[in-house]
């Protein structure tokens, strides 16, 4: 259905409530629709369930006299990206919840309530989300303009008690705590596994122990500085996030990266994806205790890291993206050498895959473990390899191509079982596709500069996106009149996916928990920002 038909039908259903503002993004189809606050839940629900859009993010902006709530929905290239904006005067801080129509918006609403103080009427679980009740006073809203980001805020005078919300009512039920410091090399997060003793009945993660407040820190800084924040939101997918940010900034400043830069950006993004997936495979082998498999995958991961460092100067591809292109160029000889080494690494990775396929003890531990059904994956708005393991094969590189991806041929793998083994197979398949894309890039890399020159920063707002290794990432950037960042919002794939982690972890025994975590391969840093 084209965008025009969409708007016409929307106007029919909710007469008077819908008003088209403008077309967004020069590169793809999309539009911004202003909607009245009462009609937003139904309208967004209609977009989601009947028109088949996926939920990208919810962005809250505090202007001089009004609140802007922006719900971003995306579909394929025909559907485009739809921004549904609703506005209310600053004094009105209650909004209706969308939770009854779109479950995937759950965490976004909770985050906004904690950070901005807006109340979503009808949401059953507001509070104690980003700002933990045992450290922060209830009335602290750090993202409001009046709050000074540089100084430590006055929080609680005395440590308050936090009691978890436990739901299992059964004789002898208890909640086993895992974390925040729990394993050898693991990110800090708390998991409470409610159980009666054998299998986990309910598992809800308590994240945001690593909340760094990136969105607030970025405000008032030049966009070059905000680019550093974007990169370091998650170091293992730094290039992808940097790329999404640069695309948003370039859209605002009306700058287009030259063709060579676009090609190299694709090359580096796929290199990062390849390395990330190898690391994820290593983690899965490690979680299941398959030592030789872990070592084999770890060797490949280290080779990729060294390769990245020798090729670009940094093991995690920091410092390459810049507004308008890349910060350095690469010689053709080096690119060919890179490709050769990558082919060799891919060949060895496929050998590892073949051996894993025949290791029964390994398969026993990940097959039929941590199952997420396709229906649940859609309901919870999962993205990335996890969603593709449950049959939802949406990939931003195909749906909304950026940086020249529409010029390359590649497949998006998809499996239907939704268990750990399906997700593992997706990782291997995507790694292979990454090398395929890199071959095409190197063979067709145009000449020219890699940077469009110094950028003239102008005010404006835009959405940038990229398919990070863990899934779809959206960066919303607004540059103010003083050429500094006025609002920066990151919607990361881990944030969207942690929401659905409990679907996989429940009804399995304790011992499967680390394995399910490893097959999900999510990042707490990316989610906590």
């Amino acid at each position: 259905m084209t965008l025009a038909n969409l708007l016409a039908e929307a106007d029919l259903r909710w007469p008077g409530n819908i008003r088209v503002c403008r077309e967004t993004s020069r590169h793809t189809r999309g539009c911004e629709i202003e909607c009245s606050t009462e009609a937003v839940p139904e309208f967004c629900g209609w977009l989601y369930s009947e028109r088949g859009y996926s939920f990208a993010s919810m962005i809250v902006e505090e202007h001089e006299s009004q609140w802007d709530l922006r719900y971003v929905w995306y579909g394929n290239s025909e559907d485009g990206i739809v921004h549904v904006v609703t506005r209310q005067p600053l004094a009105e801080q209650t909004f209706p919840t969308l939770i009854g129509h779109v479950h995937a918006i759950d965490w976004s609403e909770r985050e906004v309530e904690d950070l901005f103080g807006l109340v979503f009427k009808g949401h059953p679980r507001l509070g104690d989300f980003v700002l933990h009740d045992d450290r922060w006073n209830r009335d602290v809203t750090p993202m409001r303009h009046g709050t000074d980001a540089s100084a430590p805020l006055l929080r609680c005078l005395a440590e308050r008690e936090w009691r978890p919300l436990l739901v299992l009512e059964a004789p002898g039920a208890f909640a086993m705590p895992i974390g925040p410091v729990y394993s050898g090399v693991a990110e800090s997060a708390l998991f409470l596994l409610e159980t009666q003793g054998e299998d986990v009945v309910r598992c809800v993660p308590r994240l945001f122990y690593k909340y760094r407040g990136i969105e607030k820190i970025a405000e008032g800084k030049p966009i070059a500085h905000a680019l550093l924040l974007a990169e370091r939101c998650n170091g293992t997918s730094a290039f992808a996030h940097g790329l999404a940010f640069c695309q948003a900034a370039e859209a605002i400043c009306a700058v287009e990266a030259p063709g060579r830069a676009k090609g190299l950006r694709v090359l580096l993004a796929e290199l990062e994806r390849f390395r990330h997936h190898t690391a994820a495979i290593r983690e899965i082998c490690e979680a299941t205790g398959l030592v030789v498999g872990t070592s084999q995958a770890a060797i490949l991961e280290e080779e990729l890291l060294s390769l990245s460092c020798a090729f670009t100067g940094h093991r995690y591809l920091f410092g390459l993206n810049t507004i308008g292109g890349l910060s350095r160029d690469f010689e053709p000889g080096h690119c060919l050498q890179l490709l050769e080494t990558l082919h060799d690494i891919l060949r060895r990775l496929k050998q590892v895959e073949k051996m894993l396929r025949y290791s029964n003890s390994f398969l026993d531990r990940i097959e039929e473990v941590g199952i997420v059904s396709p229906g649940d994956a859609r309901e919870f708005g999962l993205v990335g390899p996890i969603a593709r393991g449950s049959g939802i094969s949406r990939d931003l590189r195909k749906l909304q191509p950026y940086s020249g991806y529409d010029g390359f041929t590649f497949d998006v793998p998809s499996e239907g079982e939704g268990d750990g083994y399906a997700r593992l197979r997706i990782l291997f398949a995507e790694a292979e596709q990454s090398v395929r894309i890199m071959e095409q890039v190197v063979s067709a890399l145009p000449g020219g500069t890699v940077c469009a020159g110094p950028v003239q920063v102008s005010p404006g707002a835009a959405l940038g996106w990229a398919e990070a290794p863990r899934g779809a990432a959206f960066h919303w950037l607004r540059i103010g009149g003083d050429s500094m960042v006025a609002r920066y919002h990151l919607a990361t794939p881990s944030f969207l996916n942690w929401n659905g982690f409990h679907l996989a972890a429940e009804h399995f025994a304790f011992q499967d928990f680390p394995i399910i975590m490893a097959t999900f391969g999510l990042s707490v840093a990316e989610s906590d920002r």
Binding site: I99, G100, H103, D106, P124, R125, D134, E159, E161, W162, R163, P164, L166, V167, L168, E169, A170, P171, G172, A173, F174, A175, M176, P177, I178, G179, P180, V181, Y182, S188, L190, L192, E194, T195, Q196, G197, E198, V201, R202, E379, F380
Partner: protein, 711 residues
Amino acid sequence: MTLDGAMFGLFFVLCCAGMLLAIVLPQQRNAFGLACTASLAAIAISCLSIRVLLSGHGLQIPLWTIPELGTLTLSLDRLSALFVLSAGIVFLAASAFSAGYMERYLGHYSLRSFSILFYALFLSVVLVLIAADVLSFLIVWEAMAIFSYFLVNYEHEREENIRAGWLMLALGEVGSISATLALLLLAHRAHSLSFSEIRAASALVQPGMRWAIFLLSFMGFGVKAGLIPFSVWLSRAHPAAPANVSAVLSGVILNLGVYGIVRVNIDFLPVTMPGPGLTALIVGSATALMGILYATVENDLKTMLAHSSIENMGIITAALGAGFVFVASGHRVLASIAFVAALYHMLNHSVYKALLFLGAGTVDMRVGMRNMDLLGGLIRALPWTGLFFLVGALAISALPPFNGFVSEWLILQSLLRSVELGSTAIGAVFAFCAAALALTAGLAITCFVRAFAMTFLGMPRSQQVDAASEARRSMTIPMGALAAACLALGITPTYVIPVLDRALAPYAVSGATQALVPAFFRAASSGLPPNFVSEFHDLGAQVGKGLLPISGLVVLHRGGERNPVVFAMSTPYTLVVLIFLLSISFAAVRFYLARGRKLVIKEPWDGGLQRLLPEMTYTATGFSSPVSVIFHAVLHPTAIEESRETIYEHFRTAIRRGSHKEPHILERLLFQPSVWSAIAIGNLCARMHNGRLNVYVTYVLIALLAVLLLT
């Protein structure tokens, strides 16, 4: 009158005086009076039984003569004295405990009636053990059943207690009837009601009758001892009673069932076929396994201990069964070892079960609840109770140097000697049952680790626990005495075994002393090969030669001809080594490894949480859930019902899992079907009462015709 007679008279007088005192004293002083007088009575009867055990001279007291029924006599021989001694120890502890414990009933129930019933029960128990003819036995047996029923029903305002007591009485009566039949059959054969004449006439009984008498007595007294399939009353009745009564029920009354089985099948009618023995062995092993299985998943402290009593009775019965098989096949020494093991276990069980029940009663009284899921961390509030409960738990889990280890070791060793029987079938049954008993021992450790840890260690799981405080000394001292007795019985097996052996001597099964505790201080006459003796000397078995009597400190168990090894066990040595190792380790750590370093006590590491909450710690249910999952077929045949409440379809507000208890497997398989079929048959027969006069007249006519035809 001899000194023994005087002591018995003193006991009797003390009990009667106690009853009078109970009537006279006001309610508040009644518990104290009970404690004093009953303790004195228990001391008197214990001293009497010790005298009889050591000297061998029994006590005979003829009472009234009833025409055509014979003389009612009381006779205290060594076997009875053993049981009376265990009863005396338990009653002593329970009475002393009552002084502090009965305060919780002040104002709610009548302490007067409790005291009177307590003395009555004590009297009837002792009389059952010394009754020497069928009539007096049956009279005091019924009296004992009724008095124990009243005591179980003491907290009669609670519905489940009334039902529990009624079940105990009803099943007990079934058992009494069966036992009565057995005794009457024996009396019929002997043409007399006196035990001594029955004993003399045992040779005349035919095999078919022997089977009948065995089965009737086994079933009858088995009900009292809590053997399956009639053990369903035990897990309800023992928790329903006050803690001191529970201690008596588990420590004394259950032994009466064992006493009955032993009297009939060792004393009156020694077994001549392997069948009865195998039956007893199989029933005992199954009882043990069933009991400990239900104990491991039970959350209520006292109910768990009741199930554990079923387990221990099963072990005793299995040992008796093994002994019967050995007697039937002529291996007297092996039979003696098995019986000695069974009686040793009975004695041990009385002591540690009483200790555990008194501990559970203390927890119940000081905290107000018994559910292990809600307790925790009590070792800080109740340190002495915790320590003594720990000793009881170690003893019941059969860990050296406590008494449970000795009797379990002896039982398993005697079961392993089945290879000498020669028959493969019997050997297979023995092997199977030995495996079942080994599984039982493993589950017992799980059960009691859970019981101790969930109750006393960890964090308090409810507010009532925080407010608890230690009990008075009148309650902790009896527990301490029982704990000391556990240790004492554990480190002196070489002195207890000869006493038990002599008790069995009149029944032509003896030789355990010679087999297990040979006098190898006098090497020449002990029949041991000289190189073996020298090896033992090298191992240090001669330690204490000048100080200790002949038996020394080591229990030996020699394998048969096919397996000529010697298994030695010495709990005193274990104790000494344990103390030595602990002190050396302590000294090494304190004075060498940790020298110059400060001891700092910090919080337990909880992963960096702000505060570890009680709802985040393991519960008793969680601890035993692997067991309930593995034995799912036995414990939970129906699916667990689970209900979920959600908002907006994905926010769960409550997940509720059914908390009803599944009925015991025996009830599911045996009792419920029998009850239903009985009701169905009854309904079928009730169709006879259809209210129509013509039909009733027809019935009368048919009955008339039948009578005319028959005569």
